[in-house]
Symmetry: C2
Subunit: 357 residues, 2 copies
Amino acid sequence: MSHAVENVPVPGTGTTPSQKRYLILAEEFSHDPHYAKTARGVMRYRREAVVAILDSKRAGETDDGVPIVGSVDEGLRLNPNTALVGIVTQGGHFPGDWQELLKTCVSKGLDLENGLHVRLHDIPGLPELAAQHGVDLRDLREPPSDLSTATGENLEVDATIVLTVGSDCAIGKMTATCELDLEARQRGLQSVFVPTGQTGIAIAGWGISVDAVVSDFLAGAAERLVVEGGKRGNLLWVEGQGAILHPIYSGVTVGLIHGSAPHLYVLCHEVGRTVVEGDPTGSPIVNLSELIDLHERMSLKLRPAKVACVALNTSGVSEQEAREAIGEAEEETGLPADDPVRFGAGKLLDAVLKVAP
Amino acid sequence: MSHAVENVPVPGTGTTPSQKRYLILAEEFSHDPHYAKTARGVMRYRREAVVAILDSKRAGETDDGVPIVGSVDEGLRLNPNTALVGIVTQGGHFPGDWQELLKTCVSKGLDLENGLHVRLHDIPGLPELAAQHGVDLRDLREPPSDLSTATGENLEVDATIVLTVGSDCAIGKMTATCELDLEARQRGLQSVFVPTGQTGIAIAGWGISVDAVVSDFLAGAAERLVVEGGKRGNLLWVEGQGAILHPIYSGVTVGLIHGSAPHLYVLCHEVGRTVVEGDPTGSPIVNLSELIDLHERMSLKLRPAKVACVALNTSGVSEQEAREAIGEAEEETGLPADDPVRFGAGKLLDAVLKVAP
């Protein structure tokens, strides 16, 4: 696996992603599949940057070879330079005791990275403490202050741009994107994961949380991401958001489609899901063929994009049912389909590379 | 014309739109069709709320019966309660001498309304002066601070919702919307113009500038507008923004489509325009039939919307060419078409009412 293409300074910081040495803060939650979403994502896709995980309940254990420590002091022996908030909470707030934990990290000289809605900069006393100790506070959801409208530079990026889209939110678009990038990097390709949400940003160490951007600058933010991605490699996997027909988040989806100017889409769907999640109106999910046609016709007129393959999330069904669902999706769409987590991303990557410009 | 349905307090203020008595500030610009966009819009669609126009170069003249005055003091004799910034400038800044003009208005006890990007609240000394004189500063582009994601309440609004959409930005969507609303009010219908941009807000005295909203809350903002509109009447004309295939602003367009949950669309197009305006990439405009199909299929699954008619802006061609273009649009789409400014909005209103639920 080559990380050479990642040795580009992270905008707004002096360090490159590969210089990061993370202490992941997952106190009380490191075992929880839901709350530890960020910790798990970083452990799966950026394992090499993690030196320790903090969770006093599991101190002394290891996770994929990474020591789990019981205190910040214990973690410091492994020489981290950044503490990463590894949890995702309902409403995006910090759990009760976390403010003290964050202050401890800062006073021990660790930079802080946080993808929750609540900002580090809004925690009373923390910015002053950070200034005193000369450490950085990075709120990963905070958009850059100098965004503007899209300029057309997205069409000039010298890379193949692939965007994950889907039938709904929370169906595994980020995971499919990361798996495809990981598979491509393992094959030695100059592949880059382009993050558009807080967990993705925590995983990659750069990016913009596009749903936090003012609507006028949505496509501009997506454009900036692919321009930046083009400096890091020539095969860009842009993390999709929302869904083109999602009653709540479709604006973000379409802004991302036009701003990131993909050559190809990977269409994601969760087997068995028939109703849009988190939508109180119970809106039905339309079929894959209709989604393919809509995405292709909604693409930029100067960058007509095709769906290359279908990524299915089969985590809710048996292996036998998964294989049947994959066969059915291939029959319905005429495109290669697979579950990149369950069966590996090789088949989908092949499908993308076969039709890439 | 009945304004009874407008006698609802403007959210965040104690006054109803019809209690406004505007002094329109158009100093040096009242004759300019481009810069005086807001002044002209208010004069055309909310004439009854205007008591005077300030433009010292034309002092002593009248405009549609409204006196043009040379100074704020002169305007005060006509008993205005609000000074409205009537101009739209490149970049959204105030012209040189305007800060003094605004301070004069405030110190004479007038509320201020402003739709420019630069906020009244950011003009040094102005908020303090306003507090001292007990007047309100209203920045019309500033979104409400309590927005959230869409909830599905848009599907519960007890009104017919009509959204203007189009082949591009700046082709007359707001004008078509206002003309249809005006025609409907003149017929005695409980019709409401629902503004989604700063000029529309200045015209109607309420609304949300949806392009200034954080992307996550785009549909939520549009939903709030139709819920509010439903309290004011039962035939809502929602001002569209951008275009579904606009490389820069499509996110706003689609968020508005899903958040406002229209029953019907009015499709707007400017005769002769073939390339997206303000897009550096020179993206071509697709034909009307394709736009109709895309808008209908991109509508909410629980609120399938149809295009009711085509509103053409024929301002760039002769009357003969306009009539030909209208005939061609009707032939291509199979729908009624007309230019509501040039030939009146009656035909298009009939088309909408004929298919309204």
